[in-house]
Every structure is written in structure tokens, then in C-alpha cells.
């Protein structure tokens, strides 16, 4: 449940960001948190994505397929959320398309616990796709934990490149 709220939170944030960078999206006036900390008004605001993004911007957003995370972190950044929206749109437009969402961690800690952490990261991304209406059968989630590092080094700069989720099109 907490993960979900966080994901929704970053959705709202990214929409605020959209408004700030002047893409012309109107910020949903009711979006934000209510007194209990629950996210409200998301459905009003997510609709704005798509209508005002230029084809060039969208191409850039779709080109991005790797999203990085902080140490022990599961939050998707606002920038990454926009890119994931673009992939959601693509999946909704091409019903035969199928993505694999791969979660990874850095090399520290227990192997199977890292598999669980990597899955949490992958689910954070997959949940954004599903929140935008992508059916579950177009998405598969796999976590490799620390078993498939992108970079071989043993320092923070390598670790930060290994804490990642990758969207891979199994069917374009």
C-alpha cells in the first residue's frame, strides 16, 4: 500500500512539473494530498499527458528505457514517470506489444533479499504503466537482484548505475 501511495505521489509531482515546464498542461486543481495523506484527483490530471507533448519530445521519452534508484530506494523520479507514461501510451496504442520490466540492485547484501528489492523497483515502474491503463498481460516483471550488474565496479558510481529498472520490448 505504501508503495502505491508513493507511486501516485510521484505521478502528481510529475504533473506539477509538466505544468511548470510550460508544456501547456493544465494542472488538475483538485490534485494533491487530503488530510489522511491519500492522493486525490489523480484521474483528472493524468489525462493531460499525451495531448500536448510534441512528437519529438515523445521520441525522447520513449528512447529512455532505464530508470535509476537511490540506495534502498523505490521512488520513481518525476522525469522518469513522464518517460514511463510515453511507454504506457505506446503499449495502449499497440495492443500486441509486450514489455518485460526488469528490476536490479547493487551488489551489496543478501542475494535473494536483493531479488525482492529489485522486484519492488520493477513493480513501481509496472504499476505506473498499469495506472495508465496498460493491461497486466502486456507486462511481465522479473527481478534479477544483483545477478546482472550493468557496470562491474565496486564503488558508489558503479552501484548507482546498477540500481535500475529496465523496460525491454519483448514484442515491439
Amino acid at each position: 500500500m505504501r508503495t502505491k501511495v508513493k507511486v501516485l505521489g510521484s505521478v502528481v509531482l510529475s504533473l506539477l512539473l509538466l505544468g511548470l515546464v510550460g508544456c501547456g498542461a493544465k494542472k488538475g486543481s483538485s490534485s494533491g494530498y487530503d488530510a489522511d495523506g491519500d492522493v486525490v484527483g489523480v484521474n483528472d490530471t493524468v489525462r493531460f499527458y499525451g495531448s500536448d507533448i510534441s512528437p519529438a519530445d515523445e521520441k525522447g521519452l520513449l528512447a529512455k528505457r532505464t530508470y535509476y534508484f537511490g540506495y534502498d530506494g523505490f521512488d520513481v523520479s518525476d522525469e522518469d514517470t513522464l518517460s514511463i507514461y510515453a511507454h504506457a501510451k505506446r503499449l495502449l496504442n499497440g495492443k500486441r506489444a509486450h514489455v518485460r520490466v526488469e528490476g536490479h540492485t547493487d551488489e551489496r547484501g543478501s542475494r535473494e533479499y536483493n531479488v525482492a528489492l529489485g522486484e519492488r523497483r520493477a513493480n513501481a515502474v509496472a504499476n505506473i504503466l498499469m495506472l495508465k491503463g496498460v493491461p497486466q498481460d502486456q507486462i511481465s516483471v522479473v527481478s534479477y537482484g544483483k545477478e546482472k550488474p550493468a557496470v562491474a565496479g565496486h564503488n558508489e558510481s558503479s552501484w548507482s548505475q546498477n540500481r535500475r529498472v529496465v523496460i525491454i520490448y519483448e514484442v515491439e
Binding site: 547484501g109 542475494r111 535473494e112 533479499y113 531479488v115 525482492a116 522479473v142 545477478e147 565496486h154
Partner: protein, 442 residues
């Protein structure tokens, strides 16, 4: 599904057939702590009817076994000036003068194409006080020994000596499984290998272009459960150790991980995330009947059966950070076991059910292998290195194998539970990780 399974089996068989290709064989390196221990001397065995280079040096293998256990301090071969090969030839005063407490002598005799082997374990200290020649602590005779059996025979003799002098079963005839990772022109190859406990005689059991994880021996030593990711889907498999046949047991959406056997060989505990968060399940290996054991949000993983089979220890993030918990199989009541530090994972209980071995992150952020005494809560750190993982207990509960990293290369380490001896089993090629100690061999 059935077709897929037999294909995996066939691949496993192929792997078994090409056993000699690219083994990441291990060698043993003692990295610290043999100063203390029982002083023992192993006299090079006498050889009749053959030249000394034609057979494995039994006394050398036994010496290395006993030293690796951390319980013995063996005399250097160079320091030995007398070479008895039978108890009747021993001048006890000589060995007493060297401070030796126990002595091993033996003879190898070639008869036809095989050998006969005699050896004796002699009590040097007690000999002094009593004068008359005492009968040996152990005297054994073996016939029809083939040259390829010499290492196994030496490990067997080490087991006998260890049990006689320490009072605990030796683990030198056991085997280890581990995952080796090698880079080649066709990318990364992951191999599940089985080797003698000292790293000799490595044999591949299963090979994949995808990661392999979490090997676990069945308590009868006949099967190894492990995780593979063919076609980027996680699955738990069971490999037959002798035939190399591999079958996929589970392939649910999400995590299929961390398999571990019940003491009766009938049930696997494993981790599935098909219903949400990763949770502990049990599966009957024969009927494949599945039962969910833990509930709630958060991560539950790395189950390991208590020696009596009535509870399971596991890692859980239910309190926010990973800690060790125990769940009773009948009542499903959960209790927390670890309290020191903010990262404890990969637990296993010693055979006497008194101690918990685990991966522990210390205040400095280093991942160490640690042991916690259950009734006092006292935590003892056995190794300090930034990247240790996968602690795995020997069947006699006296040594812990673990994965470590030296100079960026994955190596296996072993440490005695008293922390006294540390050994390393580096690979000659590639990385080795995730060691799993076999049960005692019958």
C-alpha cells in the same frame, strides 16, 4: 509444460556429458588462524611396489584437510626427520620431543592394478606416562583401492581421525555446490557445479546463459534445488546429482526463489510473489501441492528449516529493515530472532538448534558473516569484508562457507564457527559464488 521440463532435463544431461569443458576449479588457500589447534604429525606414507609419483600423497591430503578444519596444527613435512610407516617403527620419544600429541603413519602397497592401504592413528602423549606400547587409537586397512579413489580415501581417513580426536563427525568427504560465472565470446555463462569439499574434482551439473541462484542440497544428498531464469522467467528447478537430470518445479509470475529442503526430503520451502509481496510457501515435491506460510505486506524470503523440521527461520522486512524471524509450521506463529543492527539476512540454524548463522551489516556498513547465540542474543562477527554474502553451514555445524570478493573476483570463503580459522577457495577462472554444503555422505 511437460515438454519444457524434459528439454531442461536433456540440457542438463548434455552439460553432464561435456563435464571437462571450462571448469572453474577451486584451490584452497589458508588465510588465517591455524596457530592454535591440536598438534599432530602426519608421516609421509611408505610406498611399496610403485614409485612415489604414481599415486596421490595421502598424508598431504589428510594434513590439508585437518588444517582446513581449524582444529589441528600439523607439523611441517620438512621438520620430520624420522619416517615410520607402521606403529612398531615409532620412537615415541622423538615425537614427544617435538610436542606432538597424535601421530599418523601408513603404508601403500601396489598389488596388481590396485593398492592396499594401511594406516594408524597413534596417541603420543599417553604413551609417555604408561611406558608399554599402547594399541593405536585407530588402525584401518583398505584393499582394492584404485588410483582414482585415493583422494576420497584420504578424506575418509581424515573424517575418521577428526571424529576420533575431536568427537564430532568430520566433513571432509562431503561435497559443495556453487555457481561459477565465466565470461566468454558468447557472453556470460552461469554453471552450477559440484566439487569435493576442498574444491577438487569440480563437475558441472547445469549451465545457462541466464543467472543461476540459490543451490540447496536435499538432506539425502541426491538432489539440488536451484533457481534459473530461462527466457527471463524465474523458476525453481530440481537437479538429480548423479544423472544430471533437471526438472522445473515452479514457474509462477514474479519471484520463484530461495528453495530449501525439509529434513525429510519431502517438502521444499520457497519464495513466491505471485500473490503480491514475496512470501514463504511450502510445496510438496511429489504432489506439487502448495501452501502459503507467511502473510502480510513486506518482504519475506530466504527460508531455512530448523533441524527438527518444525519451524522455519527467514528474512523479513516486516519491521522496516531486514531481520531474522522464525515461523512455527503448525501454529504459524511468528517471532523475531535478531535485534542487533539494521540488516540481518540469510539465516540458518546450527544442527544443535542453539545458534543462528546470518549475513549481518555492521555499523561501518560492511557485510559480515555473523553468528548469534539464541538464548543469550550475543552476536559474534566471524568475517569482516564489504561484500560477503550467502553464508552456508557445514553439516557438522563447525564451518561456514560464504561468498566473498577479492580484488573484484568472486571467491568462496570458509570460516570456523569459533572464528579461529579462515580459508579461501578462489577460482582459477571466473567468479564463484553461492556455496552450498552437502549433507554427510553415507
Amino acid at each position: 509444460m511437460r515438454i519444457k521440463m524434459s528439454m531442461f532435463g536433456f540440457m542438463g544431461f548434455l552439460v553432464w556429458c561435456v563435464a571437462s569443458i571450462a571448469n572453474a576449479s577451486l584451490y584452497v588457500e589458508i588465510t588465517g588462524g591455524v596457530a592454535a589447534g591440536l598438534p599432530i604429525a602426519l608421516v609421509p606414507f611408505g610406498i611399496e611396489g610403485s614409485d612415489s609419483g604414481s599415486v596421490e600423497d595421502l598424508s598431504k591430503i589428510i594434513k590439508s584437510d585437518l588444517e582446513n578444519s581449524g582444529q589441528f596444527k600439523a607439523l611441517n613435512f620438512q621438520a620430520i626427520k624420522e619416517f615410520p610407516t607402521h606403529q612398531n617403527e615409532v620412537h615415541y620419544a622423538y615425537w614427544q620431543g617435538l610436542g606432538i600429541e597424535d601421530l599418523v603413519v601408513g603404508r601403500v602397497k601396489k598389488t596388481g592394478s590396485t593398492f592396499s592401504v594401511n594406516f594408524a592413528l597413534l596417541d603420543v602423549i599417553r604413551q609417555k606416562s604408561e611406558g608399554a606400547a599402547r594399541s593405536p587409537l585407530l588402525a584401518m586397512h583398505f584393499d582394492n583401492v584404485r588410483p582414482q579413489d585415493f583422494r576420497a580415501l584420504a578424506h575418509h581417513m581424515s573424517d575418521c581421525i577428526f571424529e576420533k580426536l575431536i568427537g564430532v563427525k568430520g566433513i571432509f568427504s562431503t561435497r559443495i555446490a556453487y555457481v561459477s560465472v565465466t565470461e566468454g565470446s558468447k557472453g556470460t555463462t552461469h554453471t552450477l557445479e559440484v566439487a569435493d569439499s576442498d574444491g577438487f574434482n569440480p563437475k558441472p551439473l547445469y549451465r545457462s546463459a541466464y543467472p543461476l541462484m540459490s543451490p540447496a542440497w536435499s538432506p539425502d544428498g541426491k538432489r539440488i534445488a536451484f533457481v534459473s531464469f530461462e527466457k527471463n522467467r524465474a523458476g525453481v528447478n530440481i537437479a538429480e546429482v548423479i544423472s544430471g537430470h533437471v526438472e522445473r518445479l515452479t514457474q509462477f509470475p514474479g519471484i520463484n526463489g530461495a528453495p530449501t529442503w525439509s529434513p525429510d526430503n519431502q517438502t521444499l520451502a520457497l519464495v513466491l510473489s505471485k500473490d503480491g509481496s514475496p512470501k514463504i510457501y511450502t510445496i510438496d515435491v511429489g504432489s506439487k501441492r502448495l501452501s502459503r506460510l507467511t502473510e502480510g505486506a513486506g518482504i519475506d524470503t530466504e527460508p531455512s528449516f530448523a533441524p527438527d523440521g518444525r519451524s522455519i527461520v527467514f528474512t523479513s522486512s516486516r519491521g522496516g529493515k531486514p531481520q531474522i524471524y522464525r515461523v512455527a509450521l503448525d501454529s504459524r506463529k511468528v517471532e523475531r530472532l535478531s535485534f542487533k543492527g539494521d540488516y540481518n539476512a540469510k539465516p540458518s540454524l546450527t544442527p544443535d538448534n542453539k545458534k543462528l548463522v546470518m549475513l549481518h551489516r555492521d555499523e561501518g556498513g560492511l557485510f559480515s558473516i555473523a553468528v548469534q547465540t539464541l538464548n543469550t542474543g550475543e552476536l559474534k562477527i566471524l568475517t569482516r569484508s564489504s561484500l560477503s554474502d550467502s553464508p552456508n553451514l557445514a553439516p557438522n555445524g563447525m564451518m561456514v562457507l560464504y561468498g566473498s570478493s577479492v580484488g573484484g573476483q568472486g571467491v568462496l570463503g570458509a570460516v570456523s564457527l569459533d572464528g579461529r580459522v579462515k580459508i579461501r577457495l578462489p577460482s582459477r577462472e571466473g567468479n564463484v559464488q553461492e556455496p552450498a554444503w552437502s549433507p554427510f555422505v553415507k
